[in-house]
């Protein structure tokens, strides 16, 4: 049996990571107390930690994080699911792929945050325009990876299915979907991470609530310790997402234990 890299590897290298972070924190703390670092720009880690704890206990950070997570979730559902479905269809039909691909190629590279003003003209300045931008962001990685996932399924698998009399429904549920699942999960990881990134970007420019708004407010009031605390929370979300997706991959694609999504 091959070694399960991403579980044990994660733990081994995980200790090293913790150690490195620990040493950087000590050097930082020391640097501030010796006066080498400005405590305005680089508040000591101990102060950031107590601020982080305070913001958790008074629910401020928890509430803002919850709002950001809700936006990420809505964007992922509204953008990711259509991306997945369209990806399955485009991957399956070379003709539709040729028809639609130019539009995808033209719209995909546009930074979705750049069309926020346009979206706000259409959807108003409220919550919906934020979610639309996040959904557009989540749409493309899932679409492209799902289509690629279907396209890389060996033609032999379709021949076997046809030979044994599979109908269209069975071809989708037993061949196309499971066959493309490893790349669908890759698409999901990209969509999720980008949705978080764009959520915070949208909140930075146009929200009163959410992690991005909190970061912006902390900067405007020069409370750098709160700024760092929000950044740490953002980083923790990223780590959490990726850990969750790795576990999901182990569960959903057991035939690809080597899969690193």
């Amino acid at each position: 049996m091959k070694e399960n890299h991403h579980l044990f590897g994660f733990m081994r290298e995980g200790w090293l990571t913790v150690l490195i972070i620990f040493f950087i924190a000590i050097a930082w703390e020391l640097g501030v107390s010796m006066g080498w670092l400005s405590s305005l720009f680089f508040p000591p880690p101990s102060f950031i930690a107590t601020t982080f704890k305070k913001l958790i206990l008074n629910h401020k950070l928890v509430d803002h994080t919850g709002i950001t997570l809700w936006r990420v979730f809505l964007g992922l559902v509204l953008g990711g699911i259509p991306g997945l479905i369209l990806g399955l269809i485009l991957g399956w039909s070379p003709r539709l792929y040729r028809l639609i691909n130019p539009f995808v190629a033209a719209t995909h590279p546009i930074p979705k945050i750049a069309i926020l003003p346009l979206v706000m003209i259409i959807f108003g300045i409220g919550e919906s325009s934020k979610v639309v931008v996040i959904a557009l962001t989540a749409f493309f990685p899932l679409l492209l990876n799902t289509a690629a996932g279907v396209q890389q399924i060996s033609p032999i698998h379709f021949e076997v299915a046809k030979n044994y009399g599979a109908n269209l429904t069975k071809i989708f549920t037993r061949i196309i979907f499971p066959g493309s699942l490893p790349l669908i999960l890759t698409g999901l990881r990209l969509s999720l991470n980008l949705a978080l990134l764009v959520s915070i970007a949208v909140e930075l420019v146009s929200a009163q609530e959410g992690l991005g708004a909190m970061i912006w407010l902390a900067w405007q009031t020069l409370r750098t310790e709160e700024l760092y605390a929000s950044l740490i929370m953002t980083a923790l979300l990223g780590i959490l997402f990726n850990f969750f997706l790795q576990r999901l991959a182990v569960y959903l694609v057991p035939w690809k234990t080597e899969q690193r999504i």
Binding site: A161, Y164, R174
Partner: protein, 254 residues
């Protein structure tokens, strides 16, 4: 009697039309094991895909007795390799044909389990193909073909990528399963010994455009074991087929 009449297949390629098969004629009796040998590129796989209904013939007829409905496909293919679904367990792979025929989960798993046992993989039912050796995977492919209620099994060099020892063992196992569950088998190979060992008849194909050049009855009694390969009549037939193939290979090399 199942028969293939004047079967032709043309392809369009960049360099113009190619005739892959020209006037292929043969028949397959009920419960008969027919082996087809031929030089590489003579259209053996094309022939099998035509019979399986994966390709459309240019002209000619393929006539099979017995039902050919959605609930009971007439043929089951065993591929050279990579024929198994990597995302299904051994059991689900073997049960695939029954699943496509709409057989319920419990019933199809029951049938599939019996055949997984017959090919000696009873302790691997819940494993995925990547956890098996190449030889074990081909056993799964064979079990899958036998479990489906197909009238005719089509095998495209199923042991082509195996080492010599594994190949011999699997040949014997294949004969054993076939004896217990008699069906028509059309078996393609480029290995003359294998064809003689397995088949009731061996059809020798010409170089492209492929057609049947000679039909050889194998009068060896069954059950057969590996020792028949030492018999003088076996060796004589082998020499005969080899001579035909050599001619055809030379023809195709120009």
């Amino acid at each position: 009697m199942n028969s293939i009449n004047d079967l032709c297949k043309n392809y369009q390629s960049k360099n113009g039309p190619i005739t892959a098969l020209k006037d292929v004629n043969f028949h397959v009796r009920d419960k008969e094991f027919v082996c087809i040998v031929g030089p590489s590129g003579c259209g053996k796989t094309t022939l099998l895909k035509l019979i399986a209904g994966l390709l459309e013939s240019t002209s000619g007829q393929i006539i099979f007795v017995g039902p050919s409905t959605n609930s009971q496909p007439r043929s089951a293919l065993v591929f050279q390799e990579h024929g198994l679904f990597p995302w299904m367990t051994v059991l689900d792979n073997v049960a695939f044909g029954l699943e496509m025929q709409g057989v319920g989960r419990e019933e199809r798993h029951l049938h599939a389990k019996a055949f997984v046992g017959k090919v000696g993989l009873a302790s691997f039912t819940d494993n995925f193909p990547h956890e098996l050796s190449v030889g074990m995977r081909q056993r799964v492919g064979i079990a899958r073909a036998f479990v489906s209620n197909s009238q005719i099994l089509l095998m495209d060099e199923p042991f082509g990528s195996l080492d010599a020892q594994t190949k011999l063992i699997l040949q014997e196992e294949l004969l054993k399963i076939w004896r217990e569950n008699q069906k028509c088998v059309v078996y393609i190979t480029h290995d003359i010994e294998e064809a003689l060992f397995l088949g009731d008849r061996v059809l020798v194909m010409t170089a492209r455009p492929g057609s049947i050049r000679e039909e050889i009855h194998i009068p060896l009694t069954r059950p057969r074991d590996l020792s028949i390969k030492e018999r003088p009549d076996f060796i004589k037939m082998k020499g005969h087929i080899w001579k035909i193939l050599e001619e055809e290979v030379r023809k195709s090399c120009g």
